[in-house]
């Protein structure tokens, strides 16, 4: 279970996260929606300490992380409990697809190379890239790179998988293949928090939807609730603009 309590973050004078509380049960898929600048990506990056939250508590399983002046050890421990899939893929440019996936296994988890390669190959086959093991990122399409990114994150067997707009940088025709992979791993019961603009996908895959705006959680609930009967005015406006075909007027 993941529990965020009172997460606050400021950039200079601007407060981007104004005390976020969020609970994610094990095996749940949480989609975070919201307009750009709402703080959703910042929140996700705080969970992995790629952004430093000023105040707040992050609890992953039985590990409790206090954001106020954490030591190097605590940061390292927090990062090992989650894995991130980036908007820009961020594959290690000088390593092949397989090397990207096994890097964490051999360096962080200290698993021997043969075993790591076996697992890495398995994961790449799972995301449909069994034939691209030795390709460098520059030789792969965006969709393929992102699928390697997902395999790399999964290899670490994180307690929670964080996905930061995983399809935003992709050509429209490549979005489908990445979403299909995410859908597949969601069904396997991996806990996920996903920041996305793909409303249809969120509605379909997420078990819980969070709508953020201006650094606060405006509304959250089951997708069937939030998408069809949003309570807050701000949520209604947002959904109307994103999905004009949904109309709430009679």
């Amino acid at each position: 279970m993941i529990q965020l309590t009172g997460i606050r973050k400021t950039f200079g004078k601007q407060e981007v996260l104004k005390g976020i509380d969020l609970q994610v049960a094990k095996g749940e898929v949480v989609a975070i929606l919201g307009p750009s600048g709402s703080g959703k990506t910042t929140l996700l990056r705080c969970i992995n300490y790629l952004e430093k939250p000023g105040v707040g508590e992050i609890r992953i399983g039985d590990f409790v992380f206090d954001a106020r002046r954490p030591g190097k050890k605590e940061i390292h421990a927090l990062r090992q409990r989650s894995a991130m899939v980036f908007q820009q893929y961020n594959l290690f440019a000088h390593k092949t697809a397989l090397e990207n996936v096994i890097e964490g296994l051999t360096v962080v988890k200290k698993i021997c190379k043969e075993e790591a390669q076996r697992r890495g190959t398995e994961l790449l086959e799972k995301v449909g890239l069994g034939s691209k093991l030795n390709a460098y990122p520059s030789q792969l399409s965006g969709g393929q790179q992102q699928r390697v990114g997902i395999a790399r994150a999964l290899a670490m067997e994180p307690e929670v998988l964080l996905l930061d707009e995983p399809t935003s940088a992709l050509d429209p025709e490549l979005v489908g293949e990445v979403l299909a992979v995410i859908r597949k791993i969601a069904r396997e019961g991996i806990t996920m928090i996903i920041v996305t603009h793909e409303m249809g996908f969120a509605q379909d895959v997420a078990s819980h939807v969070v709508f953020m705006d201006g650094g606060v959680v405006v509304e959250e609930g089951a997708p069937s609730e939030l998408f069809t009967r949003p309570k807050e005015e701000r949520t209604k406006q947002f959904l109307k603009r994103i999905t004009p075909e949904l109309s709430y007027s009679i």
Partner: protein, 236 residues
Amino acid sequence: MKLDPAFIWTAFVQLLSAVPTTLAITGVSVLCGFVIGTATALFRLYRIPVLAQLSAGYVTVIRGTPMLTHLLLIYFGLPVVVDGLSAELGLGWNSAKIPMIAFAYLSFSITAGAYLSEVVRSGLQAVDRGQIEAAWSIGMTTPQALRRIVFPQALAASLPNLSGSVIGLLHGSTLAFTVSVVDLNAKAQIVASTNWKFFEAYLAAALIFWGLTILIERITALIERKIHVYRKGGVA
């Protein structure tokens, strides 16, 4: 004056004995300079208080003064420091026992460090921040991420500049003759003056320097070809 083509070859053969000295000065200054340069570049990039300012000062002072001046300052300054320390602490050191080449090693390492600091810094800045974030996200520590992910890519990005600096230091190592180190250039002078054939001797020295430079260029090209496998980009 008449050119004696045969003597070019004679000088060439005699000069070869000084090649190890030239390579040693270049090698030591490049290696030590690379360590100094990497450290100072990291201090500056990570804005480590005090050390970052000291590093920036070091780079501007050393790059702002000639390599020959560094050598002379070390040559005349170091003995004063060594003898002074020795007298103060009763160490029994004697600056006269410092081998001449040590002055060259020390001073050129300091020179190289300043130039390589900028080479390393530009290389590190060429690596996308997403690379180290990805390394952190899979649980690597910062030293692990730097060593395994950032440095190899930074090295690749700085290779053309690095090769240029190495060539510059190879040629700069000729200044060592001012402190009586017999490098290639000094050897050429000895061979020339004992035979009274200056042009031939220096021509032979030039040929050897050119040969060594081609070697550096070849090694660079070899590494570049390896890197090209993963690196696409640029305008070509």
